[in-house]
């Protein structure tokens, strides 16, 4: 709920910015922007738009896009005008074909060679200017390193040296360049948070880097961008950018092992978990559960989503997910678990206590 309000806040700002930019340019571009009004309106609805940048890197890319769009619109307009002139200026159907005459060469010479060379040189220069701003900063220039390993179909997130491991959620401090090192444990994935930077592929046996630096606090959605099999569609994650103090609190809490069960019910829930197949795939730091195949559950209850951005992390969905994950995400590696009602309640209570 509170995310939704925040969302529309920055997007009203985004719309206003666009409008201002359009006003400063030639009238012809106003038409272009009218055509594109739905795009800007569209921004108001999600946190995964390339057109609502929340970092200087994404802002540079968005600027590049708007410049290219305007240039393209002008070129397209010229072609369209020439086309209309050519077609509507008819000379009657019976005119004999002209096979001689070499005139008209200047049209492809100007339109096909001179103008493109100028425009393309400009574009290339712009590309070279933008490139460093979206390229990964040197590790020493960044304030924090996060490792993200893509797996079919979730994101295994860890903070090296901080003893923190989580899944499908990156927390970063606002205004600090964060060095994200990505790789893959299985197939090729691609790490993409459009509002914060360009995407970078996650390739087995190779470590790639991308720098994320959020200008403002907020939650930004990311999604796998390289086809990675059955559940490519359900491999999303969130980047939560927070003020430094709040981030430090989060990091400190996440570095603790799971709290020991405080009530008999939680005790029972833990026993259910440790006595089930869960432990083969999941880790809960501080217990015997140390599987590495699935997401780390040490602080499961603190996360926003289940199933890599698929479901809200609420007790009801958690119950449904545990009983029949194949219903929500067919083909994922987690089998359904057959639990008695009371075992399930205890397990849910325990998992909900893992903050």
């Amino acid at each position: 709920m509170d995310r939704a309000t925040k969302r529309s806040d920055h997007n009203i700002g985004a719309s206003r910015r666009r409008g201002g930019r359009a006003g400063r340019r030639a009238p012809v571009t106003i038409g272009v922007f009218l055509l594109l009004a739905p795009i800007v309106a569209g921004c108001a609805e999600n946190d995964q738009s390339t057109l609502s940048p929340k970092s200087s890197a994404s802002d540079e890319i968005a600027r590049l896009w708007w410049v290219m769009l305007i240039a393209s619109a002008v070129i397209f307009g010229v072609v369209l005008v020439l086309l209309f002139v050519a077609v509507l200026r008819r000379r009657g159907p019976e005119s004999p074909p002209l096979s001689s005459g070499r005139g008209g060469l200047w049209i492809p010479a100007v339109g096909g060679i001179v103008v493109p060379i100028v425009v393309l040189a400009g574009l290339f220069a712009l590309t070279l200017r933008t490139l460093p701003k979206t390229s990964p900063a040197s590790a020493s220039a960044t304030g924090l390193t996060i490792e993200v390993v893509g797996r079919q179909w979730f994101w295994d997130v860890s903070y090296p040296g901080k003893d923190v491991r989580t899944a499908n959620e990156l927390h970063i401090p606002v205004g600090v360049p964060v060095n994200v090192e990505v790789s893959s444990a299985d197939v090729v994935h691609s790490f993409w948070v459009p509002e914060l930077n360009r995407k970078i592929d996650m390739i087995p046996g190779q470590t790639n880097r991308v720098t994320l630096e959020a200008d403002q606090a907020g939650t930004y959605r990311g999604q796998c961008a390289e086809f990675c099999g059955l559940q490519h569609a359900h491999m999303a994650f969130y980047v939560v950018a927070e003020p430094r103090a709040k981030f430090d609190t989060w990091l400190a809490r996440e570095s603790n092992p799971a709290a020991p069960p405080a009530t008999p019910e939680l005790e029972r829930g833990q026993q259910v978990l440790l006595g089930s197949a869960c432990v083969y795939c999941h880790t809960i730091d501080g217990t015997n559960a140390s599987g590495k195949i699935g997401p780390d559950l040490t602080h499961l209850a603190s996360r926003m989503s289940l199933g890599a951005g698929l479901l809200p992390n609420s007790k009801g969905y958690l119950a449904g997910w545990i009983l029949d994950p194949q219903h929500f995400k067919p083909g994922n590696k987690m089998p359904g678990t057959d639990l008695s009602g009371s075992d399930l309640q205890a397990l849910l209570a325990y998992l909900e206590s893992l903050r």
Binding site: I61, V188, R198, N208
Partner: protein, 623 residues
């Protein structure tokens, strides 16, 4: 010309009737029509696949298809459109038209031509047999490793891909070799290379690209199959392989393939525009050179498909520069077409309308294509729906619109009947509106962060309305395609006779009857300009060559008459060879190695019989 000579010519070229003669025909026109019809059937199949995808994506969180079905459907859609529709369709036009346009009586290697068709048919059916058993390729047309190998791909799905493409590559390659030799050696006397129709330049450029691009695909799919079937380790890091190797091998083929698809299509455009503008093409030589340059530059841009892979920045900038430069030859062509129309007096008919539709959509696709040379923007929107929008503007706008133009333009030549102009124009508007409504919103969905190849998407991302618009557009597009089909069917049944030259066109195929006789031209034409139909100088010669299947051979550049070639007549050997190769593939996919080996021996024996020494007719010196 003496009637007796003409009668002898007709006797030499008459084909026996019956099933065997049909299966064994080497007539480039019959083979061309087979390519066209077969490719059209595959187009309908790919269209059905597209409609299924659009149904699934019409609304968020739908379950029209399950994820595995969706993955098979989108993979087969791409594979079909690229490998089984556009390329063979343009091959069909090439087969039918190139000999007619250059004044020859057949392709240079008629039996190889028949063989190429049978292999294409076999490979297409082979790939579709995977869909019938529910195990079609499910990893997209670029099929990245390691998702394509064990343990991530366990069924036979990807074997249908790898073996099917190896199989199909034979067809594409022999077709290309045939085109190159035909275009360079069989042009009518006087058709020096600077008088050759642009369509032939386009087929030449495409064929040269094919000869150099397909080997990379063959290596890629060959290594893939070795890894899948026999446990080699080319693409898995655990065994010392490298998944990025696949990407390079694939895109070294894959980007030139874009031009392999696109060049013959723009060859159609360069053919149709002068005819309906009533003026010969402005800047003919520039357009010809631009065509060749595009084919060449197409080999230097593949890394722009891999900008997000994490390659060194110096590679990125090199390939970005190359990707920028390749816009120039396309720009030259676009403005040469515009100049031709501006200098001429355009007459609007259905083929020309489709070409105008092409121009509008292709310019949009070209402009969004240049954007991918801007590395950071590419890295932002690659693998999003923006790319899906872009390449449909280039491939549907850039290739399918010209194909539709070509169908309407050459239908009278091929069938001897006219299509209905009103249905034609209605089909154009349906296709044009449907196409833009389907694919334009995808740009926006992509910019709003929608990744491609997702079988579903959540609501609340701002993508719903654009996906719904796309689906509505696809319905209109389907109606437009059906209208073309209706027009073709009614044209075949009721179309008024076309006569030899209904468009008063400038190229040689219109100087013979519609449909042309088996020998194409009773008298070998002599060409005196790039517009033999218009110059008032190019006339049929006295040369008839009535004995056997003969066609003149000329010198590659100046087209001076060099010899009269004896062409082979119908034969079942090409079909037998193709069938034997199909059995090799069947044996490999079914793990019946004895069958594969036995069929391999049969292939060798058939080829030995085909090429074995025999008595050949004399090659006559130039008369």
């Amino acid at each position: 010309m003496a009637t007796a000579e003409l009668r002898r010519l007709e006797r030499s070229w008459v084909e026996p009737h019956g099933l065997v003669a049909r299966l064994g025909t080497v007539d480039h026109k019959k083979i061309g029509v087979r390519y066209l019809v077969t490719a059209a059937v595959f187009f309908l199949a790919a269209g059905i696949e597209a409609a299924l995808m659009r149904a699934q994506l019409a609304r968020p969180d739908q379950n029209v298809l399950d994820p595995e079905q969706y993955n098979q459907v989108f993979s087969m859609h791409g594979l079909t459109m690229i490998f089984l529709f556009v390329t063979p369709m343009l091959s069909g036009f090439g087969n039918y038209l190139v000999p007619l346009m250059i004044g020859a009586r057949d392709m240079a290697f008629p039996r190889l031509n028949a063989f190429g068709y049978w292999v294409f048919l076999g490979a297409g059916l082979f790939m579709y047999s995977g869909l019938l058993i529910g195990d079609a390729p499910d990893n997209g047309w670029f099929n990245y490793a390691p998702l394509s190998i064990q343990p991530f791909s366990v069924g036979p799905n990807i074997d249908f891909y790898a073996i099917g493409l190896l199989f199909l590559g034979i067809s594409t390659t022999v077709g290309a070799v045939n085109f190159i030799v035909t275009i360079l050696k069989l042009r009518a006397p006087g058709m020096s290379i600077n008088r050759m129709p642009i369509f032939c330049w386009a087929v030449l450029a495409t064929s040269i690209s094919i000869v150099f691009a397909i080997p990379s695909l063959t290596v890629a799919t060959g290594l893939l199959e070795l890894q899948r079937a026999w446990g080699f380790h080319f693409f898995d890091t655990a065994g010392g392989g490298d998944p990025v190797l696949w990407q390079h091998l694939f895109w070294i083929f894959g980007h030139p393939d874009v031009y392999i698809i696109f060049l013959p299509a723009v060859g159609i455009v360069s053919t149709v525009i002068p005819v309906f503008s009533r003026r010969s093409l402005v800047a003919y030589d520039w357009v010809a050179l631009a065509t060749m340059a595009t084919g060449l530059l197409g080999f230097g841009v593949w890394v722009h498909h891999m900008f997000a892979v994490g390659l060194p920045q110096v590679s990125l900038t090199f390939f970005a520069a190359a990707s920028t430069i390749i816009a120039i030859p396309s720009g030259i062509q676009v403005f040469a077409w515009l100049a031709t129309m501006l200098k001429g007096a355009p007459v609007i008919r259905t083929p020309f309308l489709y070409v105008l539709g092409f121009l509008v959509t292709f310019v949009i696709g070209g402009l969004s294509g240049v954007m991918f040379a801007a590395i950071p923007f590419d890295q932002q929107v690659t693998d999003s729906y923006f790319v899906v929008a872009h390449f449909h503007y280039v491939l549907f706008g850039g290739a399918v619109f010209p194909i539709f133009a070509g169908i309407h333009y050459w239908f009278p030549k091929i069938t001897g009947r006219m299509l209905d102009e009103r249905i034609g124009q209605a089909s154009f508007w349906l296709v044009f509106v449907g196409f833009n409504l389907t694919f334009f919103p995808m740009h926006i969905a992509g910019l709003l962060g929608m990744p491609r190849r997702v079988y579903t998407y959540p609501s609340g991302m701002g993508w719903d309305v654009y996906n719904l618009l796309s689906t509505i557009g696809s319905v209109i597009l389907v109606l437009g395609t059906l209208a073309i089909l209706v027009n073709v069917v009614q044209g075949l049944a009721f179309g008024p006779p076309a006569g030899p030259d209904p468009w008063s066109a400038n190229t040689l195929e219109w100087s013979t009857s519609s449909p042309p006789p088996p020998y194409n031209f009773a008298q070998i034409p002599v060409v005196r300009s790039a517009d033999p139909g218009w110059d008032g100088l190019s006339e049929p010669s006295d040369l008839v060559l009535p004995e056997g299947h003969q066609t003149p051979a000329t010198m590659p550049l100046d087209a001076d008459l060099a010899a009269a070639l004896e062409m082979p007549s119908e034969s079942l050997v090409p079909l037998a060879a193709a069938a034997a190769i199909a059995l090799v593939c069947a044996g490999l996919i079914a793990d019946l190695y004895w069958l594969a080996i036995a069929a391999g021996v049969a292939v060798a024996l058939t080829l030995a019989f085909w090429h074995g020494p025999r008595e050949t007719g004399p090659v006559e010196p130039a008369p």
